[in-house]
């Protein structure tokens, strides 16, 4: 008893540790958190997976054993007590009870008394003693005592059910060496038998990632830092995976259309599963648990941001790599994810609301030295501060936030306008024509001054085109006295802006059919394009990937559970509720009526094993009623 309580307390404390220390994290995280020494110590203690640690399971088993012992020792007593009516009670012991009354009688009508007891749900027995005395022993609420057996039995059954669904057998096999965790990424055919679990495995909770259109007959069972391969008695095929969204863009449902085929009988089941409705098949239940990209195909346009080149198309697939040579340098593009829906807080009117901004794709670009930046590029322009931008985020490490490159959408809502603009900036003759026009506007009469101005503008512009505003600023820093820097910088910015406007105006005259720049006023667009052009120098990549089209392929994450203990856990749970109910709400009452042969009165005694203050009232009420009956 005391032992069981200690064990339960241990389980409580261990459970708390399990909730505070995040379970089943990658081991590097623990090393970073605790340092090497404590990491190893905690690992030896099994603290990264408390609930399946040996000592935890051992406590559970001890608990089962000790509770079983308790029940087996006490149950016979309780059952005996249940059957027993204390008919051998004598006057002396009965009159010592708190509720013990002498009731005068006219005649001793046993039948009337017994009817009363029956009506009040008492069970009773009577006995005529040799000395002529009569005793009636009645009781009710025996189930209170049975509650003890129910609850304790329930705990045993639930624990056994839980152990059945644990991985005790697998742990034994690991201990004897017949099964070994696989730590490398292996193809299915290379998996050794020691890493495979057969379909006869008693219980498991395994994962399966299935691409649309794919079929699989094995699942992955995670263990520590590695895994086992769990063979299944059937083949699971995924026909389609769907995500539905609320109008605000939050996910509403995940659904997988599954076809499951039994390997032996060929029995075929089709079912759409979603988060709250799994599929049960041959003792295994298949749940919708997660989803990810399954290798979507992307059609991209590659725009070189720092030359006048036309875009070149590229096809790529998520989880695949593309190699590219840019300015004779090799870049490796690793495409990692495609997200069809992206919910961001976007300003609409005056308030920010979660809004779906459309598809994005995530990729890493690795240079020759192996360093990589991560990018997330959105397909469609987003509204930011009343303007519309194509947005692409860049970060150097996963811990950082993205830095965003924002390229303005043109009058058609396309990227073409900006790209035409950067092409113009990168065409030397177009630029010098425009400079000439800008200069002519300022100095309509020409002359020496205009020539100096012309040279100055040309230098500023070429600096801007080569490296953006910071390049211009550098040259100001090195050639202009501190007092004048601000004024000069402002005039340079103005010049760059005028040039931008001029480039677009001339382009419009030469290309009257192009609608990219059909703005009422192109000032804003020019300003944003110049900012975008400038920011592209910090983008870490000379090209911009524009997503033109995609074929969305998804993978559905399934969980496959074989849980033979579930039935027992549920059964135990029912028993538990029943037991608690009995223990709490049923009051055991014992009642005796004792009459000596000659007496003109009877002795009434009422008692209970758990004295509550309401019991006194109850006893008084019963006494009164009995008094009435016998009088």
């Amino acid at each position: 008893m005391r032992f069981a309580i200690t064990m339960l307390s241990f389980i409580g404390i261990a459970s708390v540790i399990g909730t505070i220390l995040k379970q089943n994290e990658p081991y590097e995280n623990y090393i970073i958190k605790f340092g090497q020494f404590w990491f190893e110590f905690f690992e030896a203690m099994g603290l990264y997976n408390v609930y399946q640690a040996f000592w935890f399971l051992a406590i559970l088993i001890f608990l089962i054993l000790s509770t079983s012992f308790c029940v087996s020792r006490n149950s016979p007593k309780i059952i005996k007590e249940y059957k027993r009516f204390q008919l051998n009670a004598r006057e002396k012991s009965l009159s010592s009870f708190k509720h013990s009354y002498k009731i005068p009688i006219k005649e001793f009508n046993i039948n009337k008394l017994e009817t009363f007891l029956l009506k009040n749900k008492f069970r009773f027995k009577q006995q005529f003693n040799n000395d002529g005395s009569v005793i009636i022993s009645a009781k009710k609420g025996d189930f209170q005592k049975l509650g003890y057996i129910f609850t304790h039995l329930a705990i045993i059954i639930i624990s056994i059910g839980g152990l059945m669904d644990g991985n005790l057998v697998l742990k034994m096999q690991e201990l004897t060496g017949s099964k070994k965790i696989i730590y490398e990424d292996l193809a299915l055919k290379d998996i050794p038998d020691s890493g495979k679990l057969t379909t006869s495995n008693f219980s498991y909770r395994a994962q399966m990632l299935l691409r649309e259109g794919e079929k699989q007959s094995v699942a992955v069972l995670k263990a520590k830092e590695g895994y086992f391969i769990q063979d299944l008695p059937f083949v699971v095929g995924l026909n389609d995976f769907r995500i539905e969204h609320y109008s605000t863009g939050q996910p509403k449902s995940f659904e997988s259309d599954l076809i499951v085929e039994d390997k032996k009988t060929g029995e075929l089941v089709k079912k759409t599963i979603n988060v709250n409705s799994p599929l049960s098949f041959n003792g295994v239940t298949i749940y919708q648990s997660s989803f990810e990209d399954g290798g979507s195909e992307l059609s991209l346009d590659l725009w070189n941001l720092h030359s006048s080149d036309k875009p070149s198309p590229m096809k790529s697939v998520i989880f695949k790599e593309n190699e590219l040579f840019l300015d004779k340098k090799k870049y490796l593009f690793e495409f990692n994810d495609f997200r069809k829906f992206n919910i961001l807080d976007i300003e609409i009117g005056n308030e920010k609301r979660p809004t779906n901004v459309g598809p994005s794709f995530i990729y890493k670009v690795r240079n020759e030295s192996g360093q990589a930046n991560e990018y997330q590029t959105y397909q469609f322009p987003m509204n930011i501060d009343d303007s519309s931008f194509f947005v692409s985020g860049m970060r150097k490490t996963p811990q950082e936030d993205y830095q965003y490159l924002k390229l303005p959408a043109d009058a058609n809502g396309q990227l073409d306008g900006f790209m035409i603009f950067k092409t113009l900036l990168n065409s030397p003759d177009k630029v010098s024509d425009a400079i000439e026009k800008v200069v002519t506007k300022s100095f309509p009469n020409g002359g020496e001054k205009s020539q100096i101005y012309f040279e100055g503008v040309k230098r500023v512009i070429s600096e801007f085109i080569a490296g953006g505003y910071s390049q211009v600023a550098e040259s100001i820093d090195s050639s202009v006295s501190v007092d004048n820097q601000k004024r000069i910088a402002n005039s340079y910015i103005k010049i760059i802006f005028l040039l931008g406007q001029e480039l677009i105006e001339s382009y419009k005259i030469n290309n009257p059919n192009n609608e990219s720049f059909l703005f009422e006023n192109n000032q804003k667009f020019v300003q944003e394009s110049l900012t975008g052009f400038n920011d592209s120098f910090f983008y870490g990549l000379p090209i911009f990937l524009e997503l033109k089209d995609y074929v969305h392929v998804q993978s559905s994450g399934l969980q496959l559970t074989k849980s033979p203990g579930q039935f027992w856990v549920y059964l135990g749970s029912i028993l538990l509720v029943l037991g608690i109910f009995c223990m709490i709400y049923i009051q055991e009452v014992r009642l005796w009526v004792f009459k000596k042969k000659t007496n003109k009165d009877v002795l009434l005694a009422i008692t209970t094993n758990r004295h509550r203050y309401e019991f006194d009232q109850f006893a008084k009420k019963i006494t009164q009623q009995i008094r009435k009956i016998l009088n």
Binding site: G12, G18, Y246, S289, L576
Partner: protein
């Protein structure tokens, strides 16, 4: 007397007819479990009303107010900004704000009563609690309706996030308190129980005004299940009852030290009430946890995943199991158990709130 009887029959009829109308009118939006729950709710209310007559009045008042509110809405959500009664009384937000202002007021009255022993004050305190509770339940029911006005697929029972369950907690705790108050015919304990309710009200107000938590959000896929209608309320009957037990225990401990002793019920009564509250809380908490496990088996693929919320539910359960064990089997009474029940509330609070604040896991619906 006859009026009471008439009301009683009317109530029974209403509890049979209203769910029936619901079933006839809206059956295509419900699965069979939800139909069962709807019908079962009517029957359960009839049953509760049989043992506790005032329950019928709470249900009826709440329903009448809710129907008025729904009528005033005319099916358009924005009506609550224009229509006078909706704006100031019967939109879910206003009704809940009424609840939030009336509970602290009744707390004040209960304390006045405790010192003055003036039956007018006692009745006033009690009545304020009744009204606050009716307003709160109306607020939740109307919120349920409002969620459907946002969009048919957003509509759901308002027990899905921290804001909503805090309101539920206040209401259920108050309901249990009113029950015991009426059965015992003593009004002193409101002064203690309303403290915990007022603290929860404080949280609701802070949560509403600093975080805008009162906004109705659509359900994540895992919560879209009829189980939510059973699991969450059952859990909160447990939490509410444990909270009451702890507050009565505080009264017990004070009286035991001689503080307010002459003004509070006897130690035996306080002790017995603590036991009753823990007993009913324990039964509901057990059932709620088991139903939670059954739901988890359906949604997450396992009846027990040692998720922090599950684990803490187990700890809470073990805690009160230990309490009951000592009391029932060992017959222990007195200050030790009272202290234990106070500490029990701290553990329960951590399971209810702390897990959401400090630990991450599958139950991450109610993050601050």
């Amino acid at each position: 007397m006859t009026l009471n009887k008439a009301f009683n029959y009317l109530f029974i009829i209403a509890m049979l007819v209203l769910p029936a109308i619901g079933l006839i009118k809206f059956h295509e939006y419900m699965d069979r479990y939800e139909m069962f729950i709807l019908a079962g709710t009517g029957l359960t209310f009839i049953l509760i009303n049989k043992y506790w007559r005032s329950f019928g009045y709470i249900v009826s008042s709440t329903l009448i107010l809710s129907f008025i509110s729904i009528y005033l809405y005319q099916g358009i959500l924005l009506t609550n900004e224009k229509q006078f009664f909706l704006k100031y009384f019967l939109s879910s937000q206003s009704a809940i704000m009424w609840m939030c202002s009336l509970y602290p007021l009744s707390l004040l009255m209960y304390w006045f009563y405790l010192f003055k022993k003036n039956s007018f004050l006692g009745n006033l305190a009690s009545q304020l609690t009744w009204i606050a509770t009716i307003m709160g339940f109306t607020g939740l029911l109307v919120r349920w309706y409002e969620s459907y006005l946002i969009s048919i697929d957003v509509g759901h029972i308002p027990v899905s996030n921290l804001y909503e369950v805090f309101v539920l907690f206040c209401l259920i705790t108050a309901l249990l308190h009113l029950y015991y108050e009426q059965k015992m015919n003593r009004k002193e304990l409101g002064a203690f129980i309303l403290i915990i309710i007022s603290i929860a009200v404080g949280f609701i107000l802070w949560y509403t005004f600093s975080k805008g938590a009162d906004e109705i959000q659509p359900l994540v896929p895992a919560l879209q299940s009829y189980w939510m209608k059973i699991h969450v309320p059952a859990n909160f009957i447990g939490y509410g009852a444990f909270a009451i037990a702890a507050m009565i225990s505080i009264a017990y401990l004070l009286a035991d030290k001689g503080i307010l002793k002459s003004r509070l019920p006897s130690l035996i009564i306080l002790d017995d009430l603590t036991y009753k509250a823990i007993a009913i809380g324990f039964i509901f908490f057990t059932i709620a946890t088991i139903l939670g496990a059954v739901w988890a088996a359906e949604a997450w693929g396992g009846y027990w995943s040692w998720d922090p919320k599950e684990t803490w539910a187990l700890i809470v359960w073990l805690n009160y199991a230990g309490w009951l064990h000592l009391r029932l089997v060992k017959g222990l009474r007195g200050p030790m158990l009272a202290w234990w029940s106070v500490i029990g509330l701290l553990i329960t609070t951590f399971a209810f709130l702390g897990v959401n604040l400090f630990l991450s896991g599958l139950h991450s619906y109610g993050e601050l």
